[in-house]
């Protein structure tokens, strides 16, 4: 399947991936601290194991940014 991650195209040898699986396959560091949005809908962490990402989906990994001073 082909999906967009943070605006860039990526190919995966899977028909679908759960959010948890994508976090591993896409090698996200510190996955417990990332917010995941799929097709403009924020996915609850409780649903990471069950929510399926499919061909054509647009995924955004959003990161905490704490600095400012």
């Amino acid at each position: 399947m082909k999906i967009k991650i943070n605006g860039e195209d990526f190919m995966f040898d899977h028909d679908a991936l759960t959010v948890d699986e994508l976090l591993i396959v896409h090698k996200i560091e510190m996955p417990e601290y990332v917010t995941v949005q799929v097709n403009e809908e924020i996915i609850d962490k409780d649903d990471f194991a069950s929510f399926n990402i499919q061909d054509g989906d647009e995924v955004e990994f959003l990161y905490y940014m704490g600095g400012g001073k």
Partner: protein, 269 residues
């Protein structure tokens, strides 16, 4: 409110803009903006808002100016090291523009004082220029509960992000980041470093949002998270939906009172 001859000249490049004009400039002169944190983000935001003639600027910061601040916190100078940041900021602004009244709050924001600070002058818009998650979540919750618009921002290394909250018009910070990360899980500028210009870029975007909100022109970053990567020289404007289950602005919010989150001690300074 009529503008003096000096004001007509000082703000002439504003007044000539059809989106501003004399009427818009008068709005800016009557406006009140609260800037929480007088550092990397707050310094440039405060300076541009002061130059723009925002009539009342509130500065909140407990810290004193440190030599290591001067690489980016351009409102402070070498002579200010050791001085409270809010006083140093106030002096700089008074030298820039005598039209501006600067109200100083030399304290850390907490659950038990943030409402009073926002209410003190009934600020129109709030800028989050803080450097830690307890403060960022507190500002979000206080603004959502008080129905005040604010600009969130964060900067680290070569990256920055900002979003604008407008009551009833899109998501809040908690819609994206439901809860603060555990203390020490995510590094701060102090631990990870930040390129000096980043506060200037993102803080100036925050000042632009405040000015547009006051003037009532253009589109704001409500409903979007703008991210900036200086190494790639890339901006991305990511559309964000309101989270129905958001604990503070959702359909059935669980948060009705402010609370202080814990912060690793080393991050407090």
């Amino acid at each position: 409110m009529s503008l003096s001859n000096q004001q007509l000249e000082r703000y002439s490049r504003h007044i000539i803009l059809k989106e501003v004009g004399g009427k818009g400039q008068a709005k800016l002169l009557n406006a009140k903006v609260l800037i929480i944190g007088t550092g990397g983000l707050g310094a440039p935001a405060a300076m541009y808002l002061a130059a723009a003639g925002i009539g009342t600027i509130g500065l909140v910061d407990f810290d004193d100016v440190d030599l290591s601040n001067l690489q980016r916190q351009i409102i402070h100078s070498t002579k200010d090291v050791g001085k409270p940041k809010v006083l140093s900021g106030q002096e700089t602004i008074y030298e820039m523009n005598p039209d501006v009244e600067v109200v100083t709050y030399q304290e850390w924001i907490k659950a038990d004082n943030i409402r009073d600070i926002i209410k003190d002058r009934d600020y129109d818009f709030i800028i989050d220029g803080t450097d830690n998650f307890p403060a960022k979540f507190l500002i979000n919750d206080a603004c959502v509960l008080a129905g005040k618009p604010f600009s969130h921002a964060g900067i680290i290394r070569f990256n920055g992000q900002t979003m604008t909250y407008v009551p009833g018009q899109g998501p809040c910070y908690r819609c994206i980041f439901k809860n603060p990360p555990p203390p020490d899980a995510v590094p701060t500028c102090r631990q990870a470093g930040v390129i000096g210009v980043m506060g200037g870029i993102i803080g100036t975007l925050q000042a632009s949002e405040a000015i547009k909100y006051i003037l009532g022109v253009g589109s704001l970053l409500n409903g979007y998270l703008l991210t900036y990567d200086a190494l790639k020289m890339e901006f991305r404007k990511v559309k964000i939906a309101q989270r129905k289950s958001c604990p503070v602005c959702g359909d059935n919010p669980g948060i009705h009172q402010l609370e202080d989150y814990e912060q690793a001690h080393c991050e407090l300074k």
